[in-house]
């Protein structure tokens, strides 16, 4: 989508970022499911940061940041604080970002037990817990709005492409979308 930036001056386009925390990437897949409408959207937005583009650092002055996934590690918290400080409108996309959803199902189980289950109990060879260069799991997985202020919540697992398109289009037009009219928890 960055190539389209040549067609129009970048200043007139909204700078949009997408972030992937603890989630299955299904919300990003649903985003891509907008299909040909992505072309229409590309006329209005410039995708400045996303798992879908090759950009390592979260850039400054982002108009809209769309977050998929729950906050599960210390790295996620730091990332969200940086994103929030550089973003005008922050959207929590999907049930993981909005409620914690499936990742939060470990919350009633101590983290140590979760690690044992994943790396020791079921390992046949060299059972060991990875210890270096990895983000530290939080005791509890949290929805994004418990860590930073969220402006728009879009529930759904994943939210339908139609809902994402409607909500983003309304926001780009400067209107407030009626989110509950197009999606719900578990949709």
């Amino acid at each position: 989508m960055n190539r389209n930036a040549k067609d129009k001056p970048a200043a007139t386009k909204a700078r949009v970022a997408t972030i992937w925390l603890d989630g299955c990437s299904g919300c990003h897949m649903s985003f891509l499911d907008m299909d040909e409408r992505l072309l229409a959207l590309a006329e209005q937005i410039e995708l400045v940061y996303s798992p879908l583009v090759d950009q390592k650092e979260f850039p400054p002055q982002v108009d809209v940041a769309i977050v998929e996934g729950a906050v599960a590690t210390d790295e996620d918290i730091e990332k969200m604080r940086l994103v929030r400080s550089r973003t005008k409108v922050l959207i929590a996309l999907g049930d993981c970002a909005v409620t914690g959803n499936v990742p939060s199902m470990r919350n009633s189980i101590p983290v140590e037990d979760v690690f044992d289950r994943a790396y020791r109990d079921n390992a046949q060879l060299q059972p060991q817990r990875p210890a270096t260069n990895l983000p530290v799991l939080l005791e509890r997985v949290r929805p994004v709005h418990e860590v930073v202020k969220v402006d728009v919540h879009i529930p759904g697992c994943p939210p339908p492409a139609d809902a994402i398109f409607y909500i983003i289009s309304e926001l780009l037009a400067g209107r407030t979308p009626d989110v509950a009219a197009v999606t719900r928890f578990g949709k």
Partner: protein
């Protein structure tokens, strides 16, 4: 746990006809009717979760709270009788705020993970959240560790999804007459139990009729063998049974 559905006005032999206003509309009703019943007869829909037509009113979920002029407290429409000259408001920004708060409390109290629930897409709690425009829970989630009773060979009880509406308790007591279900504990520690807090499968009173499963508004009670979004509840038996019973009365 059984209590009369609606307290009858003392000393009134015959119900009287009263007139009142609901949302600015003049309506008439019998004095032994609840605000909820009269509102619905007049096509004014007040949101409810614990109420179910055919079972006694309980006032557990507090979604049907309404504003009555001259009363400082909000009152549950399902267990409040109409009075002459009453002025009832069923919808206002204040009521919407409290109803959303009630829903947020229900969602945060236990583990309602819609995406992996047997009742996804058919759940009354989920549908109510959408209807009332609740797109997130602003209260911190509790994430309690709760049990799952699969001891019954036909059905299962998942306490993670239970909202303590007590529909199962009431249908088992009032319609089936078995009174297998009841509540133990108080407040946030309340749990639905079968018999004397024994595994459901070992219950000596359960008739395995499945009425509790069908009236359950969420995925708390479900049929075995159902996976995500596969549990459809059928409550059509309830008005039918109630009608048949009432017609037997002299």
């Amino acid at each position: 746990m059984t209590r009369p559905s609606v307290p009858k006005p003392a000393g009134v032999a015959q119900p009287q006809v009263v007139t009142l206003r609901i949302d600015g509309r003049d309506v008439s009703a019998r004095s032994d009717e609840t605000i909820l019943s009269v509102a619905r007869q007049n096509r004014i829909d007040i949101p409810t979760l614990c109420y179910l037509d055919g079972l006694s009113g309980w006032g557990a979920c507090r979604l049907c709270l309404v504003d009555i002029k001259g009363t400082p407290k909000l009152l549950p429409a399902c267990v409040t009788l109409v009075r002459e000259g009453m002025e009832v408001t069923t919808d206002s920004p204040r009521l919407q705020k409290y109803r959303r708060m009630v829903l947020e409390l229900l969602f945060s109290e236990r583990n309602h993970v819609c995406s992996v629930c047997v009742s996804n897409g058919k759940c009354e709690l989920q549908a109510m959240a959408q209807r009332l425009g609740m797109t997130h829970v602003s209260l911190p989630y509790r994430y309690p560790r709760l049990e799952f009773d699969s001891s019954n060979d036909l059905f299962r009880m998942d306490h993670n999804r239970c909202i303590l509406c007590t529909r199962c308790v009431r249908v088992c007591d009032e319609i089936e007459g078995a009174h297998t279900w009841d509540c133990r504990g108080r407040g946030i520690e309340t749990r639905i139990i079968s018999d004397l807090n024994e595994p459901w499968g070992e219950s000596s009173t359960c008739t395995r009729c499945g009425k509790c499963v069908n009236v359950c508004p969420t995925g708390a009670l479900s049929q075995k063998g159902t996976a995500v979004a596969e549990m459809t509840k059928r409550v059509t038996f309830l008005p039918y049974l109630t009608l048949m019973r009432n017609s037997d009365e002299p």
